[in-house]
């Protein structure tokens, strides 16, 4: 009886426990909200549907009967928020968009909603993007070439334009009221006559300057932007040519900055981005046809090989190939708006160390007496090559030798100093490569090359400084760096000798161990023979 009772009780308790477990797993939790908190109540959620007219345009067909809008454009439209769809609705309602073709063109641009805000309410923009109502010269399109329009009528670049992005659209330069419709008789704030605009370009800097020379106006948008461009331009070569001599071939704002797709100088796509500046200048200065008739001060024709030469130079390679924007482009030496032949000291803006050394040297007065440029006399200016030690050589054809031969015939110390520089640097440089090769071999042999490599780094450093010290043109000051460098090379040779000795020691140790082992093996074998 007890047993049955016990078992029954156990059965009941076990079933109850099991039921509780199952229930807790299966049944939902009591305090979980009925709906997810992120689902919006119906009163808040809004959908803006395209109006019937807009829908008609979206589904419109072209003259061949194919859909005017392709799947990408439709997908883009679907991704737009309700506010943007509303803008499209009102544009269609205002008859600013009347054809599927126009709608397709606008959707091709993939503007962000904030940009759509600016342009869809701008009548100038809306009319001038309509292929049905504009002639080729007045039409903005995604492919101006295909539309037969001038290249600056690109819709893609227009929407990227920095003025457009700050809300200054067509009316900002061309005048008029963007909410106005079809009325073109607004007070002209720019020359109306297209012919006159191209015949005499001197109006351009003044026109841009109307805003860009106004501190308050520019400060309204970007308090960081300088406003001295016009003043500088008037003093520069391009400015003088255009404004004083009425030379219309001269560069003005549009030549470098573009017109409808102006991008800031920090935008890598901009023609005035550091890396693109040489190509922008070269677009005129490397073109012999465009440069025809210009002359240097001495009467010779203005060269057109600067870009080519710059490309081969250290600066050119650094900027154009490695993207080092610390390296100078044309404007860093020639000036940006006040463009002119750079002053002598321009190199010192970066190469201050060498400039200081040169300024304290005897070459300074000598060069000044001859009327030579300080840095470029030896280093060139566009095709500045990597300096090499052979410039110091005293063989005929070397830089120092040739010049000294001609101009300091009566002072043998000049050639002797150059020779001394050349010899010392060559000795150290050759020593450096020799030890470097040895260090590689030591590393392969398993030796410790860290102290050697540390010292090699020191030597490399000192060599670099020493090559700079050349600009003192004075043996004593040269040796202030040369002396320590010599010492380091001597220490390096000692290090290398020590490494070689260590390796020999290892080999000898191995041979000794080999001998012992081989003798042991031989004796063992003899023992084996004697045992068997």
């Amino acid at each position: 009886m007890k047993r049955v009772l016990g078992r029954t009780a156990f059965g009941i308790v076990a079933s109850a426990a099991l039921a509780a477990v199952v229930a807790s797993v299966v049944a939902p939790d009591a305090d979980e909200p009925a709906k997810s908190p992120t689902s919006m109540p119906a009163s808040v959620k809004q959908t803006v549907n395209p109006s019937q007219a807009l829908a008609g345009l979206l589904n419109g067909k072209d003259e061949k009967g194919n859909p005017a809008l392709d799947s990408d454009e439709l997908a883009y439209f679907k991704s737009l928020p309700g506010s943007a769809v509303e803008l499209f609705n009102s544009a269609v309602a205002d008859e600013n968009i009347t054809s599927s073709r126009h709608l397709a063109e606008l959707l091709k641009v993939r503007m962000t909603p904030d940009r759509l805000d600016v342009v869809l309410t701008d009548n100038c923009f809306m009319c001038h993007t309509d292929p049905e109502s504009q002639t080729e010269e007045d039409l903005f399109s995604m492919d101006p070439k295909a539309a037969g329009s001038p290249p600056f009528m690109s819709l893609a670049s227009l929407t990227q334009d920095v003025h457009m992005q700050h809300g200054l659209s067509c009316a900002g330069c061309h005048g008029g009221d963007p909410s106005d419709v079809m009325d073109h008789d607004y007070p002209p704030i720019w020359p109306d006559d297209a012919d006159a605009r191209t015949r005499d370009r001197s109006w351009v800097p003044v026109f841009c300057g109307k805003c860009h020379a106004d501190v308050n106006l520019v400060g309204h948008f970007n308090s960081d932007l300088p406003t001295d461009q016009l003043a500088k331009y008037e003093l520069g070569v391009h400015g003088k040519a255009l404004l004083k001599d009425k030379d219309n071939r001269s560069a003005e704002c549009v030549s470098c900055h573009g017109v409808h797709g102006i991008l800031g100088k920090n935008d890598p796509r901009s023609p005035v981005y550091a890396k693109n500046v040489p190509a922008t200048c070269a677009s005129c200065h490397a073109d012999a046809r465009k440069m025809q008739g210009y002359r240097l001060d001495d009467g010779s024709p203005l060269p057109t090989n600067q870009f080519e030469r710059y490309r081969t130079s250290v600066h050119g390679k650094a900027l154009l190939e490695r993207g080092d924007t610390g390296s100078p482009a044309c404007d860093d030496c020639h000036g940006n708006h006040a463009t002119k032949i750079p002053p002598q000291r321009v190199c010192e803006e970066c190469h201050a160390g060498d400039g200081k050394l040169f300024a304290g040297s005897k070459h300074k007065k000598a060069f000044a007496d001859h009327g030579w440029a300080e840095c470029s006399k030896c280093h060139g200016y566009h095709a500045i090559g990597k300096t090499n030690d052979e410039m110091l050589a005293v063989t005929k054809g070397a830089l120092c030798r040739d010049c000294h031969d001609e101009y300091s015939k009566d002072n043998p110390a000049c050639v002797a100093t150059a020779d001394f520089f050349h010899g010392s640097i060559l000795y150290l440089a050759q020593g450096e490569s020799r030890v470097k090769a040895e260090a590689e071999q030591f590393a392969r042999q398993g030796l410790d090359v860290e102290p050697l490599e540390d010292r090699l780094g020191q030597l490399g450093d000192l060599l670099r400084q020493l090559r700079s010290q050349v600009h003192t043109f004075d043996a004593d000051r040269f040796m202030k760096v040369g002396g320590p460098a010599d010492k380091v090379l001597d220490q390096l040779d000692a290090d290398a000798a020590r490494a070689r000795r260590e390796y020999r020691r290892r080999r000898l140790g191995l041979y000794a161990a080999m001998v012992v082992i081989i003798v042991l093996m031989a004796l063992l074998w003899l023992k084996l023979r004697s045992v068997e």
Partner: protein, 148 residues
């Protein structure tokens, strides 16, 4: 019989001696290996030598080697010690401290850094990596890499 016996014992003796020699050729390197070196095991903070300290007093800065690296140690206007990598982040030239302007200057391309290692002007693209510099009560100055 006696001959083979002496020959065998000679062989045994030779074998024994060679075995000892062999064991010695193993024991010697092991003993040398196990004997600890006097210098510290691992590169800890480096102490500035007297020469460096003199340079520091004279010119307000010194360039000290820390393993493979060069470290610029300088004292600013407030007599505070700073230490940064002496390798300019532009093209790797060794920088120097200009006490008059309280800037770190690279002579190669006229790059300037402030006393916190940040780029003030010129082509260097990145600030100078910092090192930890400490001074103990005896006046010794130590430089160590910054803990990652």
């Amino acid at each position: 019989m006696a001959r083979t016996h002496t020959r065998r014992s000679f062989l045994d003796w030779l074998l024994g001696t060679t075995v000892l020699a062999w064991l010695a050729s193993i024991v010697y390197p092991v003993v040398r290996y196990l004997t600890p070196l006097p210098a510290p095991v691992h590169s800890g903070p480096e102490r500035l030598t007297r020469g460096d300290l003199n340079k520091l007093d004279e010119k307000s800065f010194a360039i000290v080697p820390l393993g493979r690296k060069r470290v610029l140690v300088f004292r600013d206007k407030k007599q505070q010690l700073h230490a940064f990598s002496a390798k300019c982040t532009h093209e790797g030239c060794t920088v120097q401290f200009v006490p008059a302007q309280s800037v770190v200057w690279c002579a190669c391309h006229n790059g300037h850094f402030d006393t916190e290692g940040r780029v003030i002007s010129g082509p260097p693209p990145r600030p100078l990596p910092a090192y930890v510099v400490t001074k103990d009560k005896d006046g010794n100055i130590f430089v160590a890499p910054e803990k990652a």
